[in-house]
Symmetry: C2
Subunit: 191 residues, 2 copies
Protein backbone atom coordinates (compact mmCIF):
# COMPACT_ATOMS: atom_id res chain seq x y z
CA UNK A 1 0.00 0.00 0.00
CA UNK A 2 2.90 2.37 0.79
CA UNK A 3 4.06 1.94 -2.79
CA UNK A 4 0.81 3.28 -4.15
CA UNK A 5 0.70 6.12 -1.64
CA UNK A 6 4.18 7.16 -2.73
CA UNK A 7 3.18 6.87 -6.39
CA UNK A 8 0.21 9.20 -5.86
CA UNK A 9 2.22 11.69 -3.79
CA UNK A 10 4.85 12.17 -6.49
CA UNK A 11 2.25 12.60 -9.26
CA UNK A 12 -0.66 14.47 -7.68
CA UNK A 13 -1.34 16.88 -4.82
CA UNK A 14 -4.03 14.65 -3.33
CA UNK A 15 -4.19 15.11 0.46
CA UNK A 16 -3.91 12.40 3.11
CA UNK A 17 -7.66 12.03 3.47
CA UNK A 18 -8.17 11.54 -0.29
CA UNK A 19 -5.31 9.04 -0.55
CA UNK A 20 -6.63 7.05 2.40
CA UNK A 21 -10.08 7.06 0.87
CA UNK A 22 -8.74 5.76 -2.47
CA UNK A 23 -6.80 3.06 -0.62
CA UNK A 24 -9.79 2.10 1.51
CA UNK A 25 -11.67 1.07 -1.67
CA UNK A 26 -8.80 -1.05 -3.04
CA UNK A 27 -8.73 -4.82 -2.87
CA UNK A 28 -5.25 -6.15 -2.20
CA UNK A 29 -4.24 -9.27 -4.07
CA UNK A 30 -1.14 -11.43 -4.11
CA UNK A 31 -0.31 -13.20 -7.38
CA UNK A 32 1.89 -16.24 -7.77
CA UNK A 33 4.21 -16.45 -10.77
CA UNK A 34 2.16 -17.30 -13.90
CA UNK A 35 -1.13 -16.75 -12.06
CA UNK A 36 -3.90 -15.22 -14.19
CA UNK A 37 -5.74 -12.09 -13.12
CA UNK A 38 -7.95 -12.09 -16.24
CA UNK A 39 -8.67 -14.66 -18.93
CA UNK A 40 -10.07 -14.09 -22.43
CA UNK A 41 -13.86 -14.26 -22.26
CA UNK A 42 -14.09 -12.99 -18.67
CA UNK A 43 -15.12 -9.41 -17.94
CA UNK A 44 -12.35 -7.11 -16.71
CA UNK A 45 -14.07 -5.85 -13.55
CA UNK A 46 -11.15 -4.01 -11.97
CA UNK A 47 -8.75 -1.16 -12.51
CA UNK A 48 -5.39 -2.72 -11.66
CA UNK A 49 -2.33 -1.06 -10.12
CA UNK A 50 0.85 -3.11 -9.74
CA UNK A 51 2.63 -2.32 -6.46
CA UNK A 52 5.24 -5.10 -6.77
CA UNK A 53 6.28 -7.55 -9.47
CA UNK A 54 5.51 -7.68 -13.17
CA UNK A 55 2.39 -8.52 -15.20
CA UNK A 56 1.77 -8.94 -18.88
CA UNK A 57 -1.34 -8.42 -21.02
CA UNK A 58 -1.50 -10.68 -24.04
CA UNK A 59 -3.76 -11.90 -26.78
CA UNK A 60 -3.73 -15.30 -28.38
CA UNK A 61 -3.77 -15.84 -32.14
CA UNK A 62 -5.78 -18.48 -34.00
CA UNK A 63 -2.77 -20.83 -33.87
CA UNK A 64 -2.54 -20.50 -30.07
CA UNK A 65 0.55 -18.29 -30.06
CA UNK A 66 0.76 -15.46 -27.53
CA UNK A 67 1.18 -11.80 -28.44
CA UNK A 68 2.17 -9.42 -25.68
CA UNK A 69 0.31 -6.12 -25.75
CA UNK A 70 1.78 -4.66 -22.58
CA UNK A 71 4.22 -5.30 -19.76
CA UNK A 72 3.12 -3.77 -16.43
CA UNK A 73 5.93 -3.55 -13.86
CA UNK A 74 5.65 -2.08 -10.35
CA UNK A 75 4.09 1.43 -10.25
CA UNK A 76 2.06 0.98 -13.39
CA UNK A 77 -1.59 0.42 -14.27
CA UNK A 78 -3.07 -2.26 -16.43
CA UNK A 79 -6.42 -3.62 -17.60
CA UNK A 80 -8.25 -4.76 -20.69
CA UNK A 81 -9.49 -1.26 -21.48
CA UNK A 82 -12.37 -2.18 -23.81
CA UNK A 83 -13.66 -4.95 -21.54
CA UNK A 84 -13.40 -2.65 -18.51
CA UNK A 85 -15.08 0.36 -20.12
CA UNK A 86 -17.97 -1.63 -21.57
CA UNK A 87 -18.03 -4.49 -19.04
CA UNK A 88 -17.95 -6.99 -21.90
CA UNK A 89 -15.90 -10.20 -22.28
CA UNK A 90 -12.19 -9.48 -22.69
CA UNK A 91 -10.16 -10.38 -25.75
CA UNK A 92 -6.92 -10.48 -23.78
CA UNK A 93 -5.38 -12.16 -20.76
CA UNK A 94 -3.52 -10.63 -17.83
CA UNK A 95 -1.05 -12.81 -15.93
CA UNK A 96 1.83 -12.40 -13.51
CA UNK A 97 5.35 -12.94 -14.85
CA UNK A 98 6.86 -12.61 -11.36
CA UNK A 99 5.33 -13.00 -7.91
CA UNK A 100 3.34 -9.78 -7.71
CA UNK A 101 1.20 -7.57 -5.51
CA UNK A 102 -1.69 -5.66 -7.05
CA UNK A 103 -4.41 -3.27 -5.94
CA UNK A 104 -7.84 -3.68 -7.55
CA UNK A 105 -10.72 -1.20 -7.70
CA UNK A 106 -14.16 -2.36 -8.89
CA UNK A 107 -15.24 -0.17 -11.82
CA UNK A 108 -18.14 1.51 -10.00
CA UNK A 109 -15.86 2.49 -7.11
CA UNK A 110 -13.16 3.82 -9.41
CA UNK A 111 -15.71 5.75 -11.48
CA UNK A 112 -16.92 7.39 -8.28
CA UNK A 113 -13.36 8.27 -7.30
CA UNK A 114 -12.77 9.84 -10.73
CA UNK A 115 -15.89 11.98 -10.50
CA UNK A 116 -15.17 13.19 -6.95
CA UNK A 117 -11.38 13.68 -7.12
CA UNK A 118 -10.32 16.02 -9.97
CA UNK A 119 -6.63 15.33 -9.26
CA UNK A 120 -7.17 11.61 -9.86
CA UNK A 121 -9.13 12.45 -13.01
CA UNK A 122 -6.23 14.60 -14.26
CA UNK A 123 -3.76 11.81 -13.58
CA UNK A 124 -6.06 9.40 -15.40
CA UNK A 125 -6.26 11.70 -18.47
CA UNK A 126 -2.45 12.01 -18.47
CA UNK A 127 -2.13 8.23 -18.48
CA UNK A 128 -4.67 7.95 -21.32
CA UNK A 129 -2.69 10.47 -23.38
CA UNK A 130 0.57 8.64 -22.76
CA UNK A 131 -1.14 5.38 -23.72
CA UNK A 132 -2.22 6.94 -27.04
CA UNK A 133 1.26 8.33 -27.77
CA UNK A 134 2.88 5.00 -26.97
CA UNK A 135 0.38 3.09 -29.11
CA UNK A 136 1.03 5.38 -32.08
CA UNK A 137 4.76 4.92 -31.67
CA UNK A 138 4.37 1.18 -31.38
CA UNK A 139 2.25 0.99 -34.54
CA UNK A 140 4.79 3.08 -36.42
CA UNK A 141 7.61 0.87 -35.15
CA UNK A 142 5.72 -2.29 -36.08
CA UNK A 143 5.22 -0.92 -39.61
CA UNK A 144 8.62 0.58 -40.29
CA UNK A 145 11.42 -0.65 -38.02
CA UNK A 146 13.84 -3.48 -38.67
CA UNK A 147 14.04 -6.20 -35.98
CA UNK A 148 17.33 -4.59 -34.81
CA UNK A 149 15.66 -1.20 -34.44
CA UNK A 150 12.70 -2.76 -32.63
CA UNK A 151 15.01 -4.38 -30.09
CA UNK A 152 17.03 -1.18 -29.66
CA UNK A 153 13.84 0.80 -28.99
CA UNK A 154 12.74 -1.82 -26.48
CA UNK A 155 16.03 -1.57 -24.58
CA UNK A 156 15.68 2.19 -24.42
CA UNK A 157 12.01 2.11 -23.38
CA UNK A 158 12.31 -0.65 -20.78
CA UNK A 159 15.93 -0.83 -19.57
CA UNK A 160 14.80 -2.30 -16.23
CA UNK A 161 12.76 -5.12 -17.74
CA UNK A 162 15.43 -6.66 -19.92
CA UNK A 163 16.79 -9.08 -17.33
CA UNK A 164 13.38 -9.83 -15.85
CA UNK A 165 11.75 -11.13 -19.03
CA UNK A 166 12.19 -14.49 -20.74
CA UNK A 167 13.40 -14.11 -24.32
CA UNK A 168 10.22 -15.51 -25.85
CA UNK A 169 8.12 -12.76 -24.23
CA UNK A 170 10.38 -10.00 -25.55
CA UNK A 171 10.20 -11.60 -29.01
CA UNK A 172 6.42 -11.83 -28.69
CA UNK A 173 6.17 -8.15 -27.69
CA UNK A 174 8.34 -7.11 -30.64
CA UNK A 175 6.60 -9.35 -33.14
CA UNK A 176 9.82 -11.09 -34.15
CA UNK A 177 10.90 -14.73 -33.84
CA UNK A 178 13.04 -15.96 -30.95
CA UNK A 179 15.62 -17.03 -33.53
CA UNK A 180 15.87 -13.48 -34.89
CA UNK A 181 16.02 -12.01 -31.39
CA UNK A 182 18.79 -14.42 -30.39
CA UNK A 183 20.78 -13.49 -33.51
CA UNK A 184 20.43 -9.75 -32.75
CA UNK A 185 21.56 -10.20 -29.15
CA UNK A 186 24.54 -12.31 -30.14
CA UNK A 187 25.60 -9.75 -32.75
CA UNK A 188 25.44 -7.03 -30.06
CA UNK A 189 27.55 -9.08 -27.63
CA UNK A 190 30.24 -9.56 -30.25
CA UNK A 191 30.59 -5.80 -30.78
CA UNK B 1 -20.56 23.03 -42.72
CA UNK B 2 -23.87 21.16 -43.00
CA UNK B 3 -21.90 17.93 -42.91
CA UNK B 4 -20.48 18.74 -39.50
CA UNK B 5 -23.82 19.93 -38.17
CA UNK B 6 -25.38 16.64 -39.23
CA UNK B 7 -22.49 14.72 -37.66
CA UNK B 8 -23.00 16.47 -34.31
CA UNK B 9 -26.80 16.06 -34.40
CA UNK B 10 -26.60 12.31 -34.84
CA UNK B 11 -24.03 11.89 -32.05
CA UNK B 12 -24.90 14.47 -29.41
CA UNK B 13 -27.92 16.41 -28.14
CA UNK B 14 -26.18 19.75 -28.58
CA UNK B 15 -28.73 22.49 -29.34
CA UNK B 16 -28.71 24.87 -32.32
CA UNK B 17 -27.01 27.65 -30.36
CA UNK B 18 -24.17 25.38 -29.24
CA UNK B 19 -23.67 23.92 -32.72
CA UNK B 20 -23.59 27.38 -34.27
CA UNK B 21 -21.10 28.52 -31.65
CA UNK B 22 -18.82 25.54 -32.38
CA UNK B 23 -19.07 26.25 -36.11
CA UNK B 24 -18.40 29.96 -35.63
CA UNK B 25 -14.96 29.14 -34.22
CA UNK B 26 -14.01 26.77 -37.07
CA UNK B 27 -11.69 27.73 -39.90
CA UNK B 28 -12.83 26.27 -43.21
CA UNK B 29 -10.10 25.01 -45.50
CA UNK B 30 -10.08 23.47 -48.96
CA UNK B 31 -7.29 20.99 -49.73
CA UNK B 32 -6.09 20.02 -53.16
CA UNK B 33 -5.17 16.39 -53.81
CA UNK B 34 -1.77 15.64 -52.17
CA UNK B 35 -1.77 18.97 -50.32
CA UNK B 36 -0.21 18.86 -46.84
CA UNK B 37 -2.06 20.09 -43.79
CA UNK B 38 0.84 19.28 -41.44
CA UNK B 39 4.48 18.40 -42.03
CA UNK B 40 6.89 16.64 -39.66
CA UNK B 41 8.62 19.26 -37.50
CA UNK B 42 5.69 21.69 -37.57
CA UNK B 43 3.38 22.05 -34.57
CA UNK B 44 -0.12 20.60 -35.00
CA UNK B 45 -2.10 23.71 -34.00
CA UNK B 46 -5.57 22.52 -34.97
CA UNK B 47 -8.17 19.92 -34.20
CA UNK B 48 -9.19 18.71 -37.68
CA UNK B 49 -12.59 17.45 -38.85
CA UNK B 50 -12.95 16.15 -42.41
CA UNK B 51 -16.26 17.21 -43.97
CA UNK B 52 -15.42 15.93 -47.46
CA UNK B 53 -12.66 13.86 -49.03
CA UNK B 54 -9.95 11.72 -47.50
CA UNK B 55 -6.77 12.47 -45.55
CA UNK B 56 -3.94 10.32 -44.30
CA UNK B 57 -1.58 10.65 -41.36
CA UNK B 58 1.81 9.10 -41.96
CA UNK B 59 5.32 8.91 -40.57
CA UNK B 60 8.50 8.52 -42.57
CA UNK B 61 11.16 5.95 -41.75
CA UNK B 62 14.93 6.54 -41.84
CA UNK B 63 15.02 5.23 -45.43
CA UNK B 64 12.37 7.77 -46.52
CA UNK B 65 9.55 5.25 -46.83
CA UNK B 66 6.06 6.27 -45.71
CA UNK B 67 4.04 4.47 -43.04
CA UNK B 68 0.36 5.24 -42.78
CA UNK B 69 -0.91 5.61 -39.22
CA UNK B 70 -4.46 6.60 -40.06
CA UNK B 71 -6.90 7.22 -42.90
CA UNK B 72 -9.42 9.97 -42.17
CA UNK B 73 -12.42 9.98 -44.55
CA UNK B 74 -15.40 12.35 -44.40
CA UNK B 75 -17.01 12.61 -40.96
CA UNK B 76 -13.89 11.75 -39.04
CA UNK B 77 -11.34 13.61 -36.94
CA UNK B 78 -7.60 13.66 -37.29
CA UNK B 79 -4.51 15.30 -35.83
CA UNK B 80 -1.03 14.50 -34.55
CA UNK B 81 -2.25 13.92 -31.01
CA UNK B 82 1.06 14.32 -29.18
CA UNK B 83 2.03 17.45 -31.11
CA UNK B 84 -1.42 18.93 -30.56
CA UNK B 85 -1.64 18.14 -26.84
CA UNK B 86 1.85 19.43 -26.04
CA UNK B 87 2.17 21.95 -28.86
CA UNK B 88 5.49 20.43 -29.83
CA UNK B 89 6.90 19.60 -33.29
CA UNK B 90 5.01 16.73 -34.94
CA UNK B 91 6.59 13.41 -35.88
CA UNK B 92 3.99 12.76 -38.55
CA UNK B 93 2.51 14.34 -41.66
CA UNK B 94 -1.11 14.90 -42.62
CA UNK B 95 -1.99 15.18 -46.30
CA UNK B 96 -5.03 14.99 -48.55
CA UNK B 97 -5.44 11.86 -50.67
CA UNK B 98 -8.46 13.33 -52.46
CA UNK B 99 -9.66 16.90 -52.88
CA UNK B 100 -10.96 17.58 -49.39
CA UNK B 101 -12.77 20.05 -47.18
CA UNK B 102 -11.78 20.35 -43.53
CA UNK B 103 -12.78 22.34 -40.48
CA UNK B 104 -10.00 23.49 -38.16
CA UNK B 105 -10.20 24.67 -34.55
CA UNK B 106 -7.18 26.31 -32.90
CA UNK B 107 -6.32 24.37 -29.73
CA UNK B 108 -7.21 27.18 -27.29
CA UNK B 109 -10.66 27.56 -28.90
CA UNK B 110 -11.32 23.83 -28.86
CA UNK B 111 -10.16 23.52 -25.25
CA UNK B 112 -12.65 26.23 -24.33
CA UNK B 113 -15.41 24.41 -26.19
CA UNK B 114 -14.60 21.18 -24.35
CA UNK B 115 -14.72 22.87 -20.96
CA UNK B 116 -18.00 24.69 -21.63
CA UNK B 117 -19.92 21.99 -23.56
CA UNK B 118 -20.18 18.70 -21.63
CA UNK B 119 -21.82 16.97 -24.62
CA UNK B 120 -18.79 17.78 -26.79
CA UNK B 121 -16.52 16.57 -23.99
CA UNK B 122 -18.45 13.28 -23.81
CA UNK B 123 -18.17 12.82 -27.57
CA UNK B 124 -14.45 13.56 -27.32
CA UNK B 125 -13.98 10.94 -24.59
CA UNK B 126 -15.89 8.38 -26.69
CA UNK B 127 -13.57 9.06 -29.61
CA UNK B 128 -10.51 8.73 -27.38
CA UNK B 129 -11.76 5.36 -26.11
CA UNK B 130 -12.41 4.12 -29.64
CA UNK B 131 -8.94 5.32 -30.64
CA UNK B 132 -7.44 3.25 -27.81
CA UNK B 133 -9.46 0.13 -28.72
CA UNK B 134 -8.51 0.46 -32.38
CA UNK B 135 -4.84 0.97 -31.56
CA UNK B 136 -4.79 -2.13 -29.37
CA UNK B 137 -6.43 -4.15 -32.12
CA UNK B 138 -3.99 -2.81 -34.68
CA UNK B 139 -0.98 -3.66 -32.51
CA UNK B 140 -2.32 -7.17 -31.97
CA UNK B 141 -2.93 -7.56 -35.71
CA UNK B 142 0.54 -6.25 -36.53
CA UNK B 143 2.03 -8.80 -34.13
CA UNK B 144 -0.04 -11.83 -34.92
CA UNK B 145 -1.88 -11.73 -38.24
CA UNK B 146 -0.74 -13.10 -41.56
CA UNK B 147 -0.73 -10.66 -44.51
CA UNK B 148 -3.95 -12.33 -45.74
CA UNK B 149 -5.64 -11.77 -42.36
CA UNK B 150 -4.41 -8.17 -42.24
CA UNK B 151 -5.95 -7.45 -45.64
CA UNK B 152 -9.19 -9.21 -44.69
CA UNK B 153 -9.46 -7.14 -41.49
CA UNK B 154 -8.82 -3.98 -43.52
CA UNK B 155 -11.62 -4.80 -45.97
CA UNK B 156 -14.01 -5.36 -43.07
CA UNK B 157 -12.97 -2.20 -41.22
CA UNK B 158 -12.90 0.15 -44.22
CA UNK B 159 -15.15 -1.27 -46.96
CA UNK B 160 -15.74 2.22 -48.35
CA UNK B 161 -12.09 3.13 -48.68
CA UNK B 162 -10.93 0.19 -50.75
CA UNK B 163 -11.55 1.75 -54.15
CA UNK B 164 -10.45 5.21 -53.06
CA UNK B 165 -6.92 4.28 -51.98
CA UNK B 166 -3.88 3.56 -54.15
CA UNK B 167 -2.48 0.09 -53.48
CA UNK B 168 0.81 1.37 -52.06
CA UNK B 169 -1.04 3.24 -49.30
CA UNK B 170 -3.03 0.16 -48.28
CA UNK B 171 0.22 -1.84 -48.24
CA UNK B 172 1.87 0.89 -46.17
CA UNK B 173 -1.04 0.90 -43.69
CA UNK B 174 -0.86 -2.88 -43.34
CA UNK B 175 2.92 -3.03 -43.10
CA UNK B 176 3.23 -5.44 -46.03
CA UNK B 177 4.91 -5.05 -49.41
CA UNK B 178 2.97 -4.04 -52.54
CA UNK B 179 4.12 -7.32 -54.08
CA UNK B 180 2.51 -9.32 -51.25
CA UNK B 181 -0.67 -7.23 -51.37
CA UNK B 182 -0.96 -7.72 -55.14
CA UNK B 183 -0.52 -11.48 -54.71
CA UNK B 184 -3.26 -11.60 -52.03
CA UNK B 185 -5.69 -9.63 -54.17
CA UNK B 186 -5.05 -11.75 -57.24
CA UNK B 187 -5.58 -14.94 -55.22
CA UNK B 188 -8.92 -13.55 -53.98
CA UNK B 189 -10.03 -12.66 -57.52
CA UNK B 190 -9.28 -16.17 -58.71
CA UNK B 191 -11.53 -17.67 -56.02
Amino acid sequence: MDEFEQYLRTRTDLNDGDINYILSLAIHKHLRRNEFLLREGEVCRYKIFVTKGLLRTFGTAADGSEHVLQFAPEHSWTLDVESYDRQQPAHSNIAAIETSEVLLWPKTDFDNLLSTLPQLKDLSLQLISRNIYNSRQRILTALSATPEEKYQEFIQSFPNLLTRLPLHMIASYLGISIKTLTRIRQAQLRR
